[in-house]
Amino acid sequence: MLEVARLSKHFGGVRAVDELDFRVEAGEIFGLIGPNGSGKSTTVNMIAGIFAPTAGEIIFDGVDITEAPPHITLHAGIARTFQNIRLFNNMTVWENLWVAQNSAKQKRTGNPMARWMGGSRRAAAAVEEFLEFSNLAHKRDELAGNLAFGEQRRLEVARSLAAEPKFLLLDEPAAGMNLEEVKELDERLRVLRDRGVTILLVEHVMELVMEVTDRIAVLNFGRKIAEGTPSEVQQNQAVMDAYLGAGEGGSDA
């Protein structure tokens, strides 16, 4: 479904991502892990269209989206969350979802008038569904900036879902969550996969990654050092070296 080929991003002399290849198949949860600074977020940002890659290509559903800006990749069916939560803080929970939901509806029907022809009511109904799914219905009129941390994470995931994506890029969704919240997230991700959403999960929280993913790619210094099922990756010597800090250059993981 998503194919990344020889993808590179250089910031000056720094090779943040270097000749990266991987494929995510439809319907799987694919993990992308690696020590801090290994290029995971840069990869996500290239797929989402925030950064233009220095080289390589990104193919989604047979369409080349290498150079596509963020709103185009979204309309192609890729939604995302951010490592450091980015909500519309002075807007309510409901409005955060409404903005995202409407963009998706409008694009799919290709008719900007759709929302005046009953589309608006359907969109509102869909927003309710995402409120329920994220367990935020009771907070609908709260300003997003006033939510607790865990709620903000849930809202951000809900907002990305409101665009009704085929593919979800989650950049460290479990960061800062307690064990119980991680369990909840785990369940939600499985529900999403069962609904047919393919997920690329960038994560440090190993309890989540090893439990929920089907396959994992491991990055270190911008290069892929291993790929396989969670159990394969856990036994990989290069991965253990990278995580135990045997690699030179002082990664801080």
Binding site: I50, F88, N90, D141, L143, A163
Partner: protein, 303 residues
């Protein structure tokens, strides 16, 4: 009420429209100091249409607004590439460019035994549509407020519709807005275009009630006023801008007239204080929610 009071009513109305023109653009997080330039375009174009072409004020006003919106749309594109302070500097430069254009613009024709039209640095005199057609100060004040009310109502409705949420989303966080599928180019240019149109309308009215305009009317001070209203009033809704225009023009400028130049100092100090202590203005989203809860008015998502 006497003519002086009606005159004040006119001024507050025009300044409200001026503030709303900056409000639309500020919603997307862009600080435009070009509003005085758009006002100047609306003022000169509408003035020439009523004086030289003898149009009625309403089509002249709309045409002035459209002329300003075309320029604003063109300014909107380069403004996409810059933000923050650099955008402020660039829009100031544009405003000055427009002002100096009118400083050098001379186009007069003979009408009866007098010569009328913009006369460069001398300004544009005898924009006499209102007195020639027998409009009293009171009539003009009502006209100003009908226009202001239409713009207020339109923006209030827009704020509650999807378009308003999209503008706000861009103002809150551009990267997040893009990632929910919002096309930044379209939204920012549209905001500039709408802001230009509204500023042009303000200019058209301004030219006609003062009957005499010159390039110096459209200087940085006017641009500062335009942006000060939504900054002081907050972006939660249009009423903050209305309140700020009233407060500055009536309380600070008129009631305290005896203080003379100290008022300018107070105006500056007020902006600095608000920006430091109330970065979202007097009526921020949070304050408005508190007010609504306090008064027991419905919830925001009822829109």
């Amino acid at each position: 009420m006497d003519d002086f009071t009606w005159g004040m009513v006119q001024i507050v109305g025009v300044h409200t429209i001026l503030g709303l023109s900056a409000y639309v653009i500020l919603l997307t997080g862009q600080v435009s100091m070009a509003q005085a330039g758009f006002v100047a375009i609306g003022a000169y174009v509408a003035g020439m249409l009523t004086v030289l072409a003898e149009w009625h004020i309403i089509p002249a006003m709309v045409t002035g607004g459209l002329a300003a919106s075309v320029l604003a749309c063109i300014v909107g594109f380069p403004a996409l590439r810059i933000r923050g302070l650099m955008l402020v500097v660039a829009t100031i430069a544009f405003g000055e460019f427009v002002r100096l254009f009118w400083f050098n613009f001379d186009y007069r024709i003979a009408k009866g035994d007098i010569v009328v039209g913009p006369e460069g640095g001398e300004g544009f005199k005898q924009i006499r549509f209102f007195p020639e057609n027998g409009w009293t100060t009171q009539d003009v004040a009502v006209f100003v407020w009908v226009v202001a009310a239409i713009i207020l109502a339109t923006l209030w409705w827009m704020d509650r519709s999807r378009a308003g949420k999209v503008l706000r989303a861009v103002g809150e966080d551009e990267m997040a807005a893009q990632s929910v599928g919002i096309n930044l180019t379209v939204v920012k240019v549209a905001a500039f275009t709408a802001g230009g149109f509204i500023a042009g309308i303000a200019g058209a009215i301004y030219a006609h009630y003062t009957t005499h305009i010159e390039h110096l009317n459209f200087d940085i001070l006017m641009a500062t006023f335009a942006i000060a209203y939504p900054i002081l009033g907050g972006l939660a809704n249009v009423w903050g801008t209305l309140f700020a225009a009233f407060f500055i023009q009536v309380i600070v400028i008129e009631v305290l007239r005896d203080l003379g130049d100290v008022r300018n100092l107070m105006f500056g100090a007020l902006i600095i204080l608000v920006m430091n202590f109330l970065p979202h203005g007097l009526f921020s989203a949070k304050v408005v929610r508190k007010l609504k809860e306090w008064m027991g008015i419905g919830k925001m998502s009822d829109a």
